[in-house]
């Protein structure tokens, strides 16, 4: 019986993954061909195989392709981060954006830009590789702060979210103060970036982000069993022999690192990490070995679609992708909220 249903699940998983990959591929071409400079899908294919004009090559390979790859990576990272956070807090409203982890990372990056903008040219290779580290430090600090402040003989899920909202507001206020002390150009850059934007996308960002995703997402998948056990509640989990606190801390670190790296490259994109795991759970049920891979694909797809919408909706005004994600997913969040007790 068990094996049969597991086989069914695996089959369902492969069907869903296959359909999502097709959707991503279609949207990938739509995204590549739309924008201020239109390139027909046929020309996109021709250019990819090396037969485009030099202008088409420049637009595709230097601007659009890195931005799209970055969107895919960030979407996947935030989605998995959200899935882990929801698993370890047993709270379906947890999300790195709502909990203030994104803002913590953002604050660290803005402080980094504020104090070291003289030393590194913005967008220089060194700055690009240091930014995720700064963001990670900020994200870890935020997570630590939230965890400590929410601790009251254990961490209660609702208190965690409330404390997260408060910490988020505090970091935002500090961000505002530092931002206004910047010169106008960095100010504008920081504002756009903080609302969530795949800014200055180039291959360096992709290279800086790729190792984080390639290492952390498989580790998360490997730990799926622990997440499943934790979802049953702390008592059951320790009864089954999982050392809850240490596993929880490790998974928390992975989630925070994924969020931090994503924020460094994509700014504060809220709600994505909240909504995607829900969609994945709807499709595949509560087991994390299914939720995580589906979240990777749904997150990547959602962010790429949002990015395409943002670039084209009010062209030539480019709307930061974080705004589109918020408008698309906030109603879903409210809907979830209305259903929870």
């Amino acid at each position: 019986m068990m094996n049969e249903s597991a086989a069914k699940k695996t089959k369902k998983l492969s069907v869903i993954i296959f359909s999502l990959l097709i959707l991503i591929l279609i949207m990938f071409f739509v995204s590549l061909s739309t924008g201020a400079f239109q390139i027909s899908p046929g020309d996109v294919v021709r250019t990819i195989f090396g037969n485009g004009t030099s202008q088409q090559e420049l637009v595709l390979f230097q601007f659009r392709l890195p931005a799209i790859v970055l969107a895919l990576l960030i979407g996947a990272g935030l989605a998995v981060s959200g899935a882990i956070l929801q698993g370890i807090t047993q709270n379906e409203l947890a999300d790195p954006g709502i909990l203030g982890i994104n803002t913590g990372a953002g604050l660290a990056v803005v402080l980094f830009m504020f104090f070291f903008s003289g030393q590194f040219a913005p967008g220089s290779t060194l700055a690009v590789f240091i930014m995720p580290v700064a963001a990670l430090a900020g994200a870890i600090f935020a997570a630590f702060l939230i965890y400590v402040l929410a601790w009251k003989k254990g961490v209660n899920a609702i208190r965690l979210v409330l404390v997260g909202i408060g910490v988020n507001a505090g970091f935002s206020a500090l961000l505002t103060i530092f931002q206004l002390r910047m010169d106008p150009q960095s100010f504008r850059q920081a504002t756009v970036w903080l609302t969530g934007d795949i800014w200055n996308a180039n291959w360096n960002f992709v290279l800086a982000l790729l190792p984080w995703m390639l290492i952390l997402i498989p580790v998360a998948l490997y730990k799926a069993h622990s997440l499943n056990v934790m979802n049953l509640g702390d008592d059951v989990a320790s009864g089954l022999g999982t050392s809850v606190e240490s596993e929880r801390r490790l998974l928390l670190l992975i989630a925070v690192a994924l969020a931090g790296a994503s924020v460094a490259a994509g700014g504060g994109i809220a709600f994505l990490g909240l909504v995607v795991p829900h969609i994945a759970r709807k499709l595949m049920g509560p087991l994390h070995q299914y939720i995580i891979p589906v979240s990777v694909l749904v997150g990547a797809l959602l962010l790429m679609v949002s990015d395409t919408i943002g670039k084209n909706l009010l062209a030539p005004t480019a709307i930061p992708v974080g705004i589109i994600v918020a408008i698309l997913s906030a109603p879903y969040f409210v809907y979830l909220l209305m259903r929870t007790k």
Partner: protein, 337 residues
């Protein structure tokens, strides 16, 4: 009856008188401090024996006095809005900024600025009311559609979600219509653009809103004991809530149209006030007026001091003061469930 022992009428009166004195003093400090410091004696002269030939008198009359008065009125309006909301919903986290009311007003403002650039001040203020009303309606809709109503936590979360969404739409408008510089400082909350017109707007809306608030304060006390109890005592809760919502919209709408999004004043002031004067809204409302005014006048002074000669948005200052308070409330009220 414990309240009576701890909060005798005499001590409440004394606290309110002290608050009035503190407000007068801090307005004096606010007016005298600035790019050129003007001593308190000159401030006194400029207010009561105005001489248009003196530059310092003109600075005070045209720039600093309206600013300090606006700060006081905005603070009072937001604090009373918060008190009404907390009393009516019996929810310790209810307040204009947490429930997205301020962001609704902001959205309406940016839309008007985008489509009708030549809008009059009155037009701006009324659009701000409408936007605030829209956000309140949204949050209440969420509340009425969820089984079991809005718990404090749900309210905070729904507010955050709705506020984020409204702010996102605001950003789209400001980016598309190149209003982001105007909106940037304004969204962070600030009093630098205030003048006598702002004071007049705030005074008119303030008198209307505060009168309603004082008028229904007794009924809010009854309502805060629970709706069933209030109905049992023969109170028409629908009418009271309607008046309460109107007061909140008028007060918050005017405050946002003048000072932008100033967070946490409406959340923390009623709590501090309740701690001092007890649970009777006939005392909470007037004391909130005074404490709200005091808080924002002081926050405005700090916002000019902290990074002089540049201004820091006053909303950032009130957030920094309000966050520890919010965290305390989150630990104590959200903890049990």
């Amino acid at each position: 009856m414990r309240e009576f022992i701890h909060h005798s009428s005499m001590s409440k009166v004394i606290i309110n008188i002290l608050a009035v004195l503190a407000i007068i003093f801090s307005i004096g400090v606010s007016v005298s401090y600035g790019a050129t410091n003007i001593d308190l004696n000159t401030v006194w002269q400029a207010v009561f024996h105005f001489n248009p030939d003196l530059t310092s008198h003109q600075i005070i009359q045209e720039l600093r006095l309206p600013r300090a008065l606006s700060a006081a009125l905005v603070g009072a309006s937001l604090a009373v809005s918060g008190a009404i909301m907390q009393g009516m919903t019996r929810n310790p986290l209810a307040s204009p900024s947490i429930m997205g009311v301020t962001d609704g007003a902001a959205l309406a403002l940016v839309m008007v600025l985008a489509f009708v650039p030549a809008v009059t001040t009155a037009g701006l203020v009324s659009s701000s009311f409408i936007g605030a009303g829209l956000a309140v309606a949204l949050v209440f809709m969420v509340g009425s559609f969820s089984p079991g109503g809005l718990t404090p936590v749900k309210l905070a979360l729904a507010g955050v979600a709705i506020a984020t969404m409204l702010r996102s739409i605001t950003s789209i408008f400001s980016l598309h219509f190149n209003l982001e510089r105007e909106m940037g400082f304004w969204l962070a909350g600030g009093l630098s653009g205030t003048n006598w017109t702002s004071v007049n707007i705030l005074l008119i809306s303030g008198v209307v809103g505060l009168l309603i608030a004082v008028g229904i304060s007794k009924s809010i006390t009854v309502l805060s004991l629970g709706e069933d109890m209030a109905t049992g005592l023969g109170q028409n809760n629908g009418i009271i809530k309607l008046f309460g919502v109107v007061a909140v919209l008028v007060l918050t709408g005017a405050a946002v149209s003048v000072a932008g999004v100033v967070g946490f004043v409406g959340l923390i002031v009623p709590h501090i006030v309740r701690f001092i004067v007890g649970t009777d809204y006939r005392w909470i409302v007037p004391t909130s007026i005074l404490f709200g005014a005091l808080l924002l006048v002081l926050a405005d002074v700090v916002s000019r001091l902290i990074n002089a000669p540049f201004e820091t948005p006053v909303g950032a200052i009130t957030s920094l003061i309000g966050v520890p308070f919010f965290l305390y409330l989150a630990r104590s009220s959200g903890g049990g469930k």
